[in-house]
Amino acid sequence: MFVLTFAVQTIVEELPVVVETLEKTAEATDGGANHLILLLTVFALAVFLGVEIITKIPPTLHTPLMSGSNAISGIALLGAILAAGGDNGTWAHMLGYAAVVFATMNVVGGFVVTNRMLAMFRTRK
């Protein structure tokens, strides 16, 4: 409860600051906002591409698709590696290592189990 009240209070107090920060961000990132929009473009295109491809996948393959795409979502592993392996201090390293273990499980386990499922489909002609 206390945290909540505090939070609400801070939000109200900070309101004028945000406008300023927004403007600062906009100025500072002239050319950088451009970069952000490029990232957004990449995101939007990838979503469209995903939709187009996935809608073509037949029902038979939906379970492998689910576990396969789940494995891909472990891509956060790359971020984990950078966090754990970089010059970042102990706390960041600890978080990073935990993230590496989690994400690796997701990635490796996901691909292996998907392969196991799909191999069943292959045995039949």
Partner: protein, 466 residues
């Protein structure tokens, strides 16, 4: 390796992911598609390890070794029937990793440099908050889903008055805290972990009240979230591969969610927030089941002997009983006797989309015999014997006949229109939707009580001897 070379490697990996996903569109290329995906991941990991910012490898290799061993063991030990749980578990881990990465970034070098420089970096902070929020919901939601599917004792369907309001408050709270994090970068760590806790709680409460039958939808949705979380992490780290891979997964989850909702004739909103009203014209089980006839494996064998066209409709019970291999034996026997056998696959039979296909494929049953719902329904009047094997909701005629039923309007496989129906299950207890099934008491239906595997193998034996 120079950052731009790493980026180039990421671009290649992204292209490999796309090609791999395209491979998944056909059974023949699916194995290769999955391997391409794994290869892309390996490639991306190696490129990242070679990044000039990585100062030590030992810890990383150990951590990855541990993760790999755990992952492989889980993946190889798991029963095919427990696949939904496993996906839920992995999914939660992925979401958790996103949260941890975002947290690590906030206590890392780049963040402190940006903070010191005094320049605004709202976009990165917003992405961090999003990554924490979505990742935490994915983490706790997936773990709760895992618990429900694994039928862990301490995870119950909990719902209480005011739950929606609590959820709304938690959601608003998370957004508020995220906002604070963005505007007060000096306290970012504090706010971030508060955000993570709030969102974790939110994830628990969101999923805990959803019934088991809807878990697959929840998992697909959470899968989509874990992709979005990875994308958000990509925005934080300015990493296009994370963005692309995350977006692909996000799209995949959303589409699977949609497919399931359409197959159940319910809106996503109803799945997530609507309670399954426990059924309109609610007759007591005694009334519905007054005229149930039961039968024996020998009698079933006799009926099969004289049939020309047999349809098998498998459901979740087949998965539980692990009856797929026994079913294969029965199928082969029938085929040898020149009796046509087909399988009617309902899109949401089992606990995952395509669940039945995977199991039947495991038992080496010919791809061509698996027919989709529409196709079987069109030829139902030519079916002499329909064997319903551990399916319940997907053959419940009240979906068609009772407009007040909770599953009203859900398309079903119309086995009740076959000449004779044999229902194999252990009792008269309901399926996952929790409602009675008038099919069991229909004039042309006979119940064969018992475990699916056992019952089918007895029928096969009787048929062999008869």
């Amino acid at each position: 390796m120079r950052p731009d070379l790493v980026d180039l490697a990421y671009l290649l990996a992204a292209i490999l992911f796309v090609i791999g996903l395209k491979g998944l569109t056909r059974p023949r290329t699916a194995v290769r598609g999955n391997m391409l995906g794994a290869l892309a991941m390996l490639f991306a990991v190696v490129a990242t390890m070679l990044h000039q910012d990585i100062i030590s490898w030992t810890g990383l290799l150990i951590a990855m070794g541990v993760g790999s061993v755990l992952g492989v063991v889980l993946a190889l030990k798991i029963e095919m029937t427990a696949m939904p749980q496993l996906v839920a578990l992995f999914n939660g881990l992925g979401g958790g990793a996103s949260v941890l990465v975002a947290g690590a970034w906030l206590s890392g070098k780049e963040f402190s440099e940006k903070l010191a420089s005094g320049n605004g970096f709202m976009d990165a902070l917003t992405a961090t908050a999003a990554s924490g929020l979505i990742g935490a919901i994915t983490l706790s939601g997936s773990l709760v889903a895992f618990g429900k599917l694994q039928e862990l004792k301490f995870v119950k369907d909990i719902s209480f008055p005011g739950q929606r309001i609590l959820n709304l408050l938690l959601a608003l709270g998370s957004i508020g805290v995220g906002y604070l994090m963005v505007v007060q970068p000096e306290n970012a760590q504090l706010w971030f972990w508060l955000l993570a806790i709030t969102a974790t709680t939110l994830g628990v409460f969101l999923v805990i009240s959803i019934g088991g039958a809807d878990m697959p939808v929840v998992i697909a949705l959470l899968n989509s979230y874990s992709g979005l979380a990875a994308s958000a992490t990509g925005f934080v780290l300015n990493n296009n591969l994370l963005i692309i891979a995350g977006a692909l997964v996000g799209a995949s989850g959303l589409i699977l969610t949609r497919i399931m909702c359409v197959a159940m004739n319910r809106s996503l909103w109803a799945v997530l927030f609507g309670k399954m009203q426990s059924g309109g014209t609610m007759l007591s089980d005694d009334e519905v089941y007054a005229n149930v006839k039961s039968t024996s494996p020998e009698e079933v064998a006799m009926m099969l002997e004289v049939a020309q066209n047999v349809l098998i409709v498998p459901g979740y019970g087949m998965a539980v009983a692990q009856a797929q291999h026994t079913v294969r034996d029965l199928t082969n026997l029938l085929l040898k006797k020149d009796i046509a056998v087909n399988f009617g696959i309902h899109p949401v039979a089992g606990r995952m989309p395509g669940h039945m296909n995977v199991l039947l494929a495991e038992a080496d049953i010919d791809y061509d015999r698996l027919k989709e719902m529409d196709e079987v329904n069109a030829m139902m009047d030519q079916v002499d014997v329909a064997i319903v094997l551990g399916a319940n909701d997907v053959v419940n005629p009240s979906a068609r006949t009772d407009p007040n039923s909770p599953i009203a309007g859900m398309p079903i496989i119309d086995v009740d229109k076959a000449r004779t129906v044999i229902v194999v299950k252990r009792s008269l207890s309901p399926g996952f939707a929790g409602i009675a099934n008038p099919l069991f008491a229909a004039d042309n239906t006979m119940m064969l009580f018992g475990d699916g595997k056992q019952a089918i193998s007895e029928v096969t034996k009787a048929l062999n001897e008869g």
